[in-house]
């Protein structure tokens, strides 16, 4: 699985992307827990309360993540901070 970070989340992660090798599929919550363990800088913004508070969006294959589905090992996952265009 390839994970890419955008905007301020890239700063907190300390990396722009990361590859993970999984045994099977995982949920979005499991993925976030895994990311926070590996990249402690994300803890401040990527816990579940933080996601809701900040409006972080997860894309899987360029589409918004549906939390009823599992994410496969081959997926490209984008972690997006709150929008700030204009």
């Amino acid at each position: 699985m390839k994970i890419r970070f955008y905007g301020m989340l890239r700063d907190y992660a300390g990396v722009s992307e990361l590859s993970l090798r999984l045994n099977g599929e995982i949920s979005g919550d499991e993925l976030l827990r895994m990311l926070v363990e590996r990249l402690p800088g994300l803890r401040e913004v990527l816990d579940s309360a933080g996601m809701e508070r900040l409006g972080i969006v997860i894309l899987v294959g360029n589409k918004p993540y549906d939390n009823r589905r599992l994410i496969g090992d081959e997926a490209v996952v984008d972690i997006l901070p709150p929008a700030s265009g204009g």
């Binding site: 955008y6 905007g7 300390g14 984008d78 997006l80 700030s84 265009g85």
Partner: protein, 153 residues
Amino acid sequence: MGVVVRLTEDKVDLGRLAGELASTTSMKGAGALVVFMGFVKGVVGGARVKELVYEAHIQYALDKLREIGINAEEKYKLHEVVIIHRVGRIQPGEPTVYILVAAESRREAFKAAEEILERVKHEAPIYKLERREDGEYWVMGDGRRIRRPRKQA
């Protein structure tokens, strides 16, 4: 009727674009064109702004801009919607976003343009880093600023 969206590093010739839109939509019954252009502030919170750096998730941003444009087009019965957002490094006074809305009358055009802008600011995956003389800040859609961590990827 149509929706045009674009992400670009370049400035747009706004006069030409507005003229073309007025010309093409007038024969279909449009009589109002609202043009919005956002640009980079030179001073924020008393601090001089050096530049803004915009980045985007290109594919999802284009999808989202198109969705916003289509929603407005249907809701306000618009003749044409153009949403162009710049990316890359932009200096104070330079344009960041262009929204053009052609409609039969001004009321729909003004309402639609404002709604489109608000949705672009809060929904499109476009990210803004403000480089100021007093530091670097990530700017949120609601205007909040988060100081950039010292260590970056």
